[in-house]
């Protein structure tokens, strides 16, 4: 077995993770990952969706336990058996998805798990006073800690999350995509807080896919790809291109698949959205979706692009307006949408796309069974043939009879895409289609979308990944606060301009 590493070593790192490995149902998520973070350092972690960033942070936070590897703080080996351990050891995490309970008050949320007591009852006065103090630290001194979290807007909730983490007085703070719901001013406020923490010697791990932020505020950066560490770099002299190259293991052009749109622009749009309104989300949005193109919707979290996509796909009923195909209005429900030639793939495939305990075959053929009938019952042979063709077309690595649960994220997404391809629809609406899948599968999907567009289908992609949007879209529509703020055509916008547009600036 070899000599054991000593329990305590001399080091200048506050936090060290060594040899961390973790897999899910046979699919490896982290392979032998090393990470070292110093006191007072802002250490960024970058990687594609599905590279392992969140898994690594979940291991650190005590949500997951690794199969191999060790974690040390100040050179001392520690064991993190659960989330309480992590917090006790001074590791606080601001999760990517908000971890606040909407029905509880701000103070109750901040002190959940260590509520101050007077006897057996909650000491509300102390709890609220303490909450006010820590909210002050994040510039939210005006928030009433008695308010239910659900009553606060998304951006404020993010700061409550940060306050919650800070109230643990951590020595290591993990920020997972903290600026996703924030506008420019609020993001600046966040970085001021980060600077103050740096000065106090807190080690900060900063996960983001916004290169501008990383280049501006980071001290070092670690790049992950497919569960492994590619490299750890000092930010001096690092460029975006360097980061991208390491993230995807190649050049950006080949990754996003060069797209040559047909010369003649088709006059009739594949679908139209007319005067769409949705309370609190969208205001009088009208848009034509062209055939044979890939159109990307993008914007900050909550800007309305997701809701518009769901309305287009028939999932959500708008308060006003209509969706039309060939001039005829389509009812606002999935069955009608599918009959009219529209389909929707959502960002949460586990909750809305996958039938985990059904076979891959059953997953793919569900909407198309009507065409596979013979004498009123399902024709098994025809079904098997159709599925074999789909698996081949999209290079899905799976046996048709395997339960969907056993596939990797990338193959699962491909199977959902196969489902809709089999149905042969005119308009495909995909929300964050490459979230949480490996680089190889991503490249495959980009290639497939490209091929579909060339076949004349209208592809609508909702994505918050700016490089992805720039790489694959023929047209880009930027949403800000429920309206269309800007529109760009491929090749006529830079990343900086697009980022500004997303922030609401010109």
């Amino acid at each position: 077995m070899g000599p054991q590493p000593p329990a305590t070593v001399m080091t200048d790192s506050l936090l060290e993770m060594r040899g961390i490995s973790k897999s899910f149902v046979g699919n490896p998520a982290l392979i032998d990952v090393d990470l070292a973070v110093r006191r007072g350092e802002v250490h960024s972690i970058v990687g594609q969706n599905g590279a392992g960033k969140s898994t690594l942070m979940n291991v650190l936070a005590g949500v997951l336990r690794p199969e191999a590897g060790e974690i040390r703080i100040d050179g001392r080996r520690i064991a993190i058996a659960n989330t309480a351990d992590a917090l006790r050891l001074g590791i606080a995490t601001v999760y990517q998805e908000l971890s606040l309970l909407a029905n509880l008050s701000v103070a109750e949320n901040i002190f959940l798990g260590r509520t101050p007591l007077r006897g057996m009852l909650i000491d509300r006065r102390k709890m609220e006073a303490d909450a006010r103090a820590v909210l002050e630290q994040v510039g939210c001194g005006d928030v009433d800690p008695r308010l239910p979290v659900g009553a606060l807007p998304l951006a404020r909730r993010q700061f409550v999350e940060i306050a919650k983490a800070l109230s643990h007085e951590p020595s290591v703070l993990v920020l997972d995509e903290p600026t996703a719901p924030l506008g420019r001013e609020e993001a600046d406020r966040l970085f001021r807080i980060v600077a103050a923490l740096k000065a106090r010697g807190v080690a900060i791990i900063f996960i983001s896919h916004r290169f501008a932020e990383i280049l501006q505020h980071g001290d070092r950066v670690t790049i992950l790809r497919n569960g492994r560490v590619v490299e750890t770099l000092d930010m001096n002299g690092v460029t975006e291109a360097m980061l991208t190259e390491r993230m995807i293991g190649g050049s950006a052009e080949s990754f996003y698949a060069a797209h040559h749109p047909p010369e003649i622009a088709d006059a009739t749009p594949a679908a139209e959205l007319r005067n769409i309104g949705l309370a609190g989300r969208l205001r009088d949005v009208s848009l034509a979706v062209p055939a044979g193109r890939i159109v990307a919707f993008t914007g900050l979290l909550g800007a309305g692009q997701n809701e518009l996509a769901r309305i287009l796909g028939g999932d959500v009923v708008p308060d006003q307006g209509e969706v039309t195909r060939a001039g005829k209005a389509v009812d606002h429900d999935p069955r009608a949408a599918i009959r009219a030639g529209l389909c929707l793939l959502t960002e949460d495939r586990k909750a809305e796309g996958l039938f985990l305990d059904l076979s891959v075959r059953e997953n793919i053929t569900l909407p198309s069974l009507g065409a596979l009938l013979r004498h009123g019952i399902i024709d098994g042979a025809a079904e098997r043939r159709a599925v074999a063709r789909s698996i081949d077309q999209l290079s899905i690595v799976a046996t048709p009879t395997a339960p969907m649960r056993t596939l990797s994220g990338g193959n699962q997404q491909k199977a959902i895409l196969a489902r809709w391809l089999l149905r042969d629809l005119a308009v495909l609406v995909l929300i964050e289609p490459t979230r949480g899948i490996d680089v190889g599968a991503k490249a495959d999907i980009y290639r497939d979308l490209e091929a579909l567009a060339r076949l004349g289908k209208a592809i609508v992609v909702i994505s918050s990944d700016v490089p992805e949007v720039l790489g694959i879209a023929d047209e880009i529509v930027v949403f800000v606060a429920g309206v269309i703020h800007a529109r760009f055509v491929r090749g006529q916008v830079t990343e900086e301009e697009l980022n500004l547009a997303i922030q609401g600036k010109e």
């Binding site: 046979g26 796909g313 999932d315 999935p334 069955r335 599918i338 009959r339 389909c343 929707l344 959502t346 909750a351 809305e352 796309g353 996958l354 039938f355 985990l356 305990d357 059904l358 059953e362 569900l366 909407p367 069974l369 009507g370 009938l373 009123g376 019952i377 399902i378 690595v397 799976a398 046996t399 009879t401 395997a402 339960p403 056993t406 489902r419």
Partner: protein, 327 residues
């Protein structure tokens, strides 16, 4: 290419486990039969086996009806009361001079209507099926008893068709067991070969995904409850065939036996997993256990306790197996 080989290596063991669940329950049933026969001489005798077959018929039919409901993640606690109501409707028709070919479909239709009512209420109220069907369980039993009062709370069933079904047999199989078998085969065919069958599994596995895939989720769910009610109606007929009476106590507690056999068969209460073949095996297991107890002189009052304990045991075992295979 290596990617494919790796995937195969990962997937094959899981494939085996998937089918293992059904085979495992079947193995338990076979072992149980062997064990009981060896321990109690009378158990394995032909007359007792025929007896077991007959005893399986009512619970089995109800279990087959409960299976689609459990598949969509629901539950129907009113089937025992529907057995009474169906029996009352059929019995009343017979007493008023109607023929069997009218009375029998009437009972089934009654059950289907109650099922439709259950399904509609559950969809409308968006409250747990447990609560809705508990309430209908009470209301429907009341309705059945009210109807029975017209006949002084007792109907003697004397009808040539019913008599024939009670004593007759086809190729040595008692008529009621044959009916169970036919219904089972029909059910298996529907679940495996029809679009509706696939949609049931899809809705039970992931309702949101099913909806986005164009499945008429509400209709599928209500249909499941209609089937369950209709099968309970058949149960009412079979009950009349077995005892030749309609009395206030028929069907009491049957809903729990029905749920037990579905769970014993390996189905998941949260939906998406379950098969009619497995429910049949579960029925066999329940009937064998209760029969074995009776043969050994354990009083009937213990039957309820044993049924409840069996449910717990079955679920614990499943959890234990799932835990082990995940490692």
């Amino acid at each position: 290419m290596t990617g494919n080989a790796n995937a195969m290596a990962r997937i094959l063991p899981r494939l085996r486990h998937h089918g293992a669940r059904s085979l495992g329950t079947l193995a338990v049933a076979v072992l149980m039969f062997a064990g009981f026969s060896l321990t109690a001489e009378r158990f394995g005798s032909l007359p007792n086996i025929l007896n077991l077959a007959k005893q399986m018929s009512i619970v089995g039919v109800l279990g087959i009806g409960m299976t689609p409901v459990v598949l969509i993640g629901g539950i129907d606690l009113s089937v025992g009361s529907v057995v009474l109501l169906g029996g009352t409707v059929a019995g009343a028709l017979l007493m008023d001079g109607a023929a069997a070919w009218l009375a029998i479909p009437a009972a089934i239709l009654t059950g289907a209507l109650v099922g439709a009512g259950n399904g509609w209420l559950i969809e409308r109220l968006r409250v747990s099926p447990v609560i809705v069907t508990l309430a209908t369980m009470i209301a429907v039993r009341g309705l059945g008893l009210v109807g029975l009062e017209r006949f002084r709370s007792w109907i003697d069933v004397s009808n040539p068709t019913f008599d024939a079904l009670g004593v007759g047999s086809i190729a040595g199989i008692p008529a009621s067991a044959a009916i169970l078998l036919v219904i089972a085969l029909l059910g298996i065919a529907v679940l495996r070969l029809t679009i509706f069958g696939r949609q049931l599994y899809a809705v039970g596995d992931n309702e949101a995904a099913a909806r986005l895939s164009g499945v008429a989720v509400t209709r599928v769910r209500i249909a499941a409850y209609v089937i369950c009610g209709a099968m309970a109606g058949v149960g009412g007929i079979l009950s009349m065939v077995r005892t030749a009476v309609v009395s206030p106590s028929i069907g009491v507690g049957l809903e729990f036996s029905a749920i037990t056999v579905v769970v014993l068969g390996g189905a998941r209460l949260s939906g998406g997993v379950g098969r009619i073949e497995e429910t049949l095996v579960g029925t066999a297991i329940l009937v064998m256990v209760l029969n074995f107890l009776t043969i050994n002189g354990i009083p009937g009052t213990w039957q309820t306790t044993v049924t409840g304990a069996l449910i717990l045991l079955a679920v614990l075992l499943k959890r234990g197996l799932a835990y082990r295979s995940a490692r």
